[in-house]
């Protein structure tokens, strides 16, 4: 296996890690609007992700950095091509990031309401935009012979990609609700479970629709069906198993199920792309691939050594921090945010 292929997998893993981890963060952010009934419950919800959300977001920053270093052409084409969606994504992430820290610092209704809206927008827009981005990426975009992408609004935003975005938002919300059942007590925990049961069918239909549209609009299933069909089969089984798990209050298992579904969906984008990283709708000769978009061998070698040393350490202390904060958050104890 070539180093550029290894780095493609690593970039994919970083995005998958981001979607898995920040996925429940986003879901918890959404639930501050849809699940909490008073300010105290909101604070409990925010505190469940308090120690983690910042580090979870670093997965995205690292994914961006890894793309820049390992696939400069991919990074340049993608970020300049998706200019406006990225502007909106950045605005949403900015609003969300400061909101957690600012919200509880002043005891005023308007102040708190402002940051509550920031948390909501900052939790809905990023998964939506990433869903749009990933699905338009596998559908193909007008990439010219100089690797530059000249996309019109409809190239990026169309029926298929919007469904992709909605599917990501709903999945994140479901995943967040599962996280809440794991991290809270009492009425909140109970309500999170009930809410998940309520949106179960709608959620399932959207994901199924998205899967069908992917088969219609992209080459994903016709070209990578061997891998993708069993994976999606597994995702369907997991989703079907989720309902009995929810009813029987198997919280750990249902969180694992939604997490695995998110991992499978995100991974499927990268599987569908490979060995391309950008598919040109103008001419296949313009496709950016793992090979023509990558850095030189020396650079990749250096980066591999750094990653091989650092990633295990990062994973170790990340897991340790989840272990330290393994206890459920309740309104009875000191809330930081």
């Amino acid at each position: 296996m070539q180093l550029s292929e290894v780095w493609f997998i690593l970039v994919a893993v970083l995005f998958i890690g981001f979607i898995f981890l920040e996925g429940f963060d986003f879901g918890v952010g959404m639930s501050t609007k849809f699940l909490a009934q008073n300010d105290l419950e909101k604070r409990v919800l925010i505190n469940t992700i308090g120690p983690f959300w910042d580090a979870n977001e670093v997965w995205l920053i690292t994914a961006g950095g890894a793309m820049f270093a390992a696939f400069p052409h991919w990074y340049a084409s993608l970020f300049s091509g998706y200019y406006l969606p990225f502007v909106v994504l950045l605005l949403a992430l900015i609003a969300r990031g400061v909101a957690f820290e600012f919200r509880g610092k002043v005891n005023s209704k308007n102040w708190i309401a402002t940051w509550d809206w920031s948390i909501l927008l900052g939790s809905v827009l990023p998964p939506f935009l990433l869903g749009v981005l990933f699905s338009s990426l596998i559908k193909g975009l007008p990439v010219d012979q100089n690797m530059n992408m000249h996309a019109s609004f409809l190239d990026i935003v169309n029926f298929y990609t919007v469904i992709g975005g909605v599917a990501f938002v709903l999945l994140s919300y479901m995943h967040g609700l599962m996280f809440i059942t794991l991290k809270t007590t009492g009425a909140l925990r109970e309500r999170a479970r009930k809410n998940a049961q309520k949106i179960y069918v709608v959620n399932g239909v959207v994901i199924l629709l998205f899967t069908i549209l992917t088969a219609v609009y992209t080459d994903a299933f016709s070209e990578k069906g061997v891998i993708l069909i069993p994976l999606y089969g597994l995702a369907i089984v997991l989703y079907l198993a989720l309902f009995p798990l929810l009813r029987n209050k198997k919280e750990g298992l249902s969180f694992t199920a939604t997490g695995l579904i998110m991992i499978i969906v995100t991974a499927s984008f990268f599987i569908a792309l490979f060995p391309n990283v950008m598919i040109s709708s103008i001419d296949v000769a313009n496709n950016l691939t793992v090979y023509n978009a990558a850095s030189g061998d020396y650079s990749l070698k250096v980066m591999t050594i750094v990653a091989a040393t650092m990633v295990p350490i990062v994973l170790a202390y990340t897991i340790w921090s989840y272990y330290i904060f393994r206890k459920r958050v309740s309104a009875k104890e000191h809330l930081e945010y």
């Binding site: 300010d39 820049f68 993608l78 900015i94 609003a95 990340t318």
Partner: protein, 467 residues
């Protein structure tokens, strides 16, 4: 052409705004780590209170620093895609390593520090804030490694029409990096120190929590003085280095059109006439430029006209002059702030030694205003460094005009410029408002449980309401 101008305004404004927060985060993390260490050694609750109170500012500031930093990483690809393609192989590596090595440490251990006060053993909890501090410093190292490549490209070959890395060690041992890194870190420590000194001075003037703020100001005056001296020495090392590596930047910083005399005098003040390529009304200090450049009292330096000729010989016809006026004045403002920092912290320590510090109202008033001095120095330092590099985006390799994204329209950049400026303005207002709120509240903060206590429908809330 319009795209280049807008993209440059965007880069300058987002970077300068981001760099308002970075030095304070680096400085405060370090100072808070020292305070918490003192708490563990002396077992005095005062130090715990100090750690927590100054910690609030750190956390608010850190949040803004982090979110404005995400734009920094993304905008290379968004606005400067040709640049990113050309240098990603070398330039991307330090950015990726920064994320892997520094961001994960900072973000994980800051969570452990905020939420771990009662959950972690004391020494382990102290280690968390030190790791955050080390993380912020490492972060600066890798960013400056990337920036140093733009100032003084090393460790690469040009292949397939782009810069490809062939020597990683050369990238991280870049001499530019090793003069810029200590300079930036000392400036950051000074920013943190002067922030705490200023806020403490304000509270001492108001005669609130005198013991608490006297303690805070004493510690930070020492840090302020040491950092000020560090800034001066590392700044001198940087100037000496620049003469060799970026003579054009240094000549512009001196407003020196013709070659200097030998020994060269240093210009304190001058009227830069860019049209006639002359600097008039010079006030000069003899020998000083020779000393600043070479560490001895002899040696002349080449002027802008000579350097322009040399550049044309090497790279072809074109204008290789950076904006001379901006570079000249940025350099003077930056060095002046450094000098003022040293004087003010020295004066404070002297007053403290005479036991007069909290009674010297004039000095305390100055120190409130002095909060802004490091910010001015930091901003003009970057302006000099980045403007003085023009017209190059990567010195001698790629011009700024060639780095811009060819597929992004001026309208798009203008849209993002306006929306980022708007959100940045709102952030700045919110943060200043919060800072003032916390300062007014003082270190004896009301317990936050009050909000929950006001909710009688909650079991704990009812109990508190009855109490």
């Amino acid at each position: 052409m319009e795209e280049v101008i807008l993209a440059r305004i965007q880069f300058a404004s987002t970077t300068l705004f981001h760099f308002i927060f970075v030095p304070l985060s680096i400085g405060l993390a370090f100072i808070i780590a020292i305070m918490q260490t003192m708490y563990l050694i002396k077992k005095d609750e005062m130090y715990k209170k100090m750690t927590k109170f100054w910690g609030i500012f750190f956390l608010i500031n850190f949040a803004v620093g982090v979110v404005t930093g995400i734009i920094q990483e993304f905008q290379f690809g968004m606005n400067w895609s040709s640049y990113s393609r050309f240098v990603g192989d070398v330039f991307g590596a330090p950015l990726a390593i920064e994320a892997l090595l520094a961001f994960f440490v900072e973000s994980t251990f800051i969570g452990l520090w905020i939420f771990g006060w009662d959950k972690l053993p004391k020494k382990l909890h102290l280690a968390c804030i030190w790791l955050v501090s080390i993380g912020t410093i490492l972060s600066a190292f890798w960013i400056l490694a990337a920036n140093s490549f733009m100032q003084n490209p090393l460790g690469f070959t040009i292949e397939n029409g782009r810069a490809e890395m062939n020597d990683f060690v050369a990238v991280i041992t870049n001499p530019k990096l090793w003069v810029a890194f200590p300079h930036t870190i000392f400036a950051s420590f000074a920013t943190g120190a002067f922030f705490i000194i200023g806020v403490s001075a304000w509270k001492l003037l108001k005669k609130k929590d005198i013991e608490f703020f006297k303690h805070s100001i004493k510690i930070t005056l020492v840090i302020g003085l040491l950092s000020g001296l560090g800034i001066a020495f590392s700044g001198h090392a940087q100037a000496t280095y620049l003469i060799g590596a970026q003579p054009m930047k240094m000549a512009a910083a001196e407003g020196l059109w013709e070659d200097s005399a030998d020994p060269a005098p240093w210009t304190v003040f001058g009227n830069i006439d860019t049209e006639n390529k002359k600097t008039t009304m010079r006030i000069e200090i003899p020998y000083l430029l020779s000393y600043l450049s070479y560490g001895k009292f002899s040696g002349g330096i080449e002027g802008l006209n000579t350097l322009q000729e040399k550049m044309e010989e090497k790279y072809g016809a074109g204008d290789y002059l950076p904006p001379v006026k901006t570079t000249f004045w940025s350099f003077r403002i930056m060095t002046a702030t450094g000098g003022v920092l040293i004087l003010l912290s020295f004066l404070g320590l002297f007053l403290n030694w005479r036991g007069k510090l909290e009674k010297s109202t004039t000095y305390l008033k100055w120190m409130v205003a002095a909060i802004f001095i490091p910010y001015i120095g930091n901003s003009f330092g970057w302006i000099m460094s980045e403007i003085g590099r023009q017209p190059w985006v990567v010195n001698g390799l790629m011009k700024t005009v060639d780095g811009v994204s060819p597929n992004v329209s001026a309208g798009q950049i203008l849209f993002s410029l306006i929306s980022f400026s708007l959100i940045y303005t709102l952030l700045a207002i919110a943060m200043v408002y919060l800072f003032i709120k916390v300062i007014k509240q003082g270190p004896h903060e009301k317990p936050k449980e009050d909000i929950s206590a006001s909710d009688p429908f909650n079991a704990g809330g009812l109990k508190n309401a009855v109490k």
